[in-house]
């Protein structure tokens, strides 16, 4: 089962901070992150890749993005 972070409407640096805090506590697995700005999408993607996670998919729904993050 994957975990979810809803970072919609949050300004910098919270989407990244919440995501990094979560993946640190998880260690590995699957995490979904919801964001609603391009900047947050880019920042979260960039930050998790530095921690050995990968962005498996980015689903676009109107003005929102659902990022699927994975670390085996």
């Amino acid at each position: 089962m994957s975990e979810l972070i809803d970072a919609r409407g949050l300004s910098c640096p919270q989407p990244v901070l919440d995501t990094l805090t979560k993946i640190e506590s998880m260690g590995s697995g699957k995490l979904e992150v919801l964001v609603d700005t391009e900047a947050a999408r880019e920042n979260v993607s960039r930050a998790v890749q530095g921690k050995g996670w990968r962005v498996d998919s980015i689903a676009e729904d109107g003005d929102e993005y659902r990022l699927e993050l994975i670390k085996e």
């Binding site: 300004s11 910098c12 391009e38």
Partner: protein
């Protein structure tokens, strides 16, 4: 779609372009080590519309107008215009006001701190140290759950309010252009001497503003975020952009003979190191708590962020208070009430940082 400006090469290129044009703007007429200073220029705008009556700092700076309009165009082109608002606007207004007060104790926003350094003004080192400490304090609050809360999607027209106001300012400037030797043209005030009287030609300033606004919007260039990400995430992405700005400005300054190394007699600066430091601690903390340096707040307000727009107006009103109440420094040193204002500002930031926390 891959956004080139979001890459490392992208952010470094943006820093280089800003550094080059900032140094050139000084060559073209802007004040010393003030090719681009968001705080100073918003203060000049506050003066141009008469919110304060400090005669030496009154000019409707086209760079600021260009920043917002350039960011807006880039956001539409990049399908990145997101009208949103409602994340503690009144708090952002107050943070903007105190950010400006802190910046005017130092005499510059973070952008100008780096440009001062690139021009050899060693006083800037204390300002930059203060900025780092202020941002560091901000990260402590973030680690303890500080949050201004979520913004909400809103109407496109709400996101367009700030760009429209800036377009209005530009129209005022064209309707009431500067008249040689006159302190007033129609309803706009123009400095006859001092930094407000020093400016590059309108069209050049506007063009550079538009260019910088566009590329900074795409790259999310942020001088506060540079240090915040370094401290909070050990990420060098934004920092590499700021570093590029300093290097580029320094090189162009060298070529143009604009480097004068030292503490004394620097343009629009004082050498009271402790207050250069403390002013920027306050400003840095305000920027961190509000999520962006003053430049970034302008670019955000151009891409539809109504809360960033409120922060900008907080800065403009803060500038008026700073000059009306004697909080702003001058080359002679801090203003009569500048020191008190720094302490009040820090207390306000502590209150905001400690009380606005989401439950774990």
């Amino acid at each position: 779609m891959k956004n080139f400006f979001a890459t490392r090469t992208g952010i470094v290129s943006v820093g280089l372009v800003i550094g080059v044009f900032a140094a050139l703007l000084q060559y073209w007429g802007n004040p010393g080590n003030m090719g681009i200073c968001v705080a100073c220029f918003e203060r000049d705008i506050a003066g141009a519309v008469g919110l304060h009556r400090a005669g030496v700092v009154q000019y409707m700076r086209p760079e600021i107008i260009g920043f917002v309009l350039g960011a807006m165009v880039a956001a539409f082109v990049g399908r990145d215009f997101r009208p949103r608002t409602g994340s503690a606007p009144i708090v952002r207004f107050v943070l903007g006001a105190f950010a400006m007060i802190g910046a005017l104790v130092f005499l510059g926003c973070p952008w100008r701190a780096f440009l001062r350094l690139a021009g050899g003004d060693l006083n800037a080192i204390f300002g930059i140290l203060g900025l780092v400490v202020g941002v560091w304090i901000g990260t402590l609050f973030f680690r303890r759950g500080y949050s201004l809360g979520r913004s909400q999607k809103t109407y496109t027209s709400v996101g367009l309010v700030m760009p429209l106001i800036m377009a209005g300012f530009l129209i005022l400037m064209l309707l009431f252009p500067q008249i040689e030797g006159q302190a007033k043209s129609g309803i706009l005030l123009y400095s006859l001497k001092g930094p407000g009287a020093m400016h590059a030609p309108l069209l050049i300033s506007l063009a550079v503003g538009l260019l910088v606004g566009a590329i900074a919007q795409r790259s999310r260039f942020c001088t506060m975020g540079a240090f915040r990400d370094l401290i909070l995430f050990k990420q060098v992405h934004l920092f590499s952009g700021v570093l590029a700005l300093v290097v580029a400005a320094f090189v162009i300054n060298l070529v143009l003979g604009q480097v004068h190394v030292g503490f004394e007699g620097q343009p629009v600066a004082h050498s009271q190191s402790i207050w250069n430091f403390a002013g920027m601690v306050l400003a840095g903390l305000c920027f961190a708590l509000a999520g962006g340096c003053p430049g970034r707040q302008l670019f955000l307000s151009g891409e539809g962020d109504g809360d960033a727009a409120v922060f900008v107006f907080g800065m403009i009103v803060g500038a008026a208070f700073a000059h009306n109440f004697g909080l702003a420094s001058s080359p002679k040193g801090v203003g009569p009430h500048g020191i008190a204002a720094v302490f009040i500002g820090l207390a306000v930031c502590l209150l905001i940082g400690l009380t606005m926390r989401k439950k774990a």
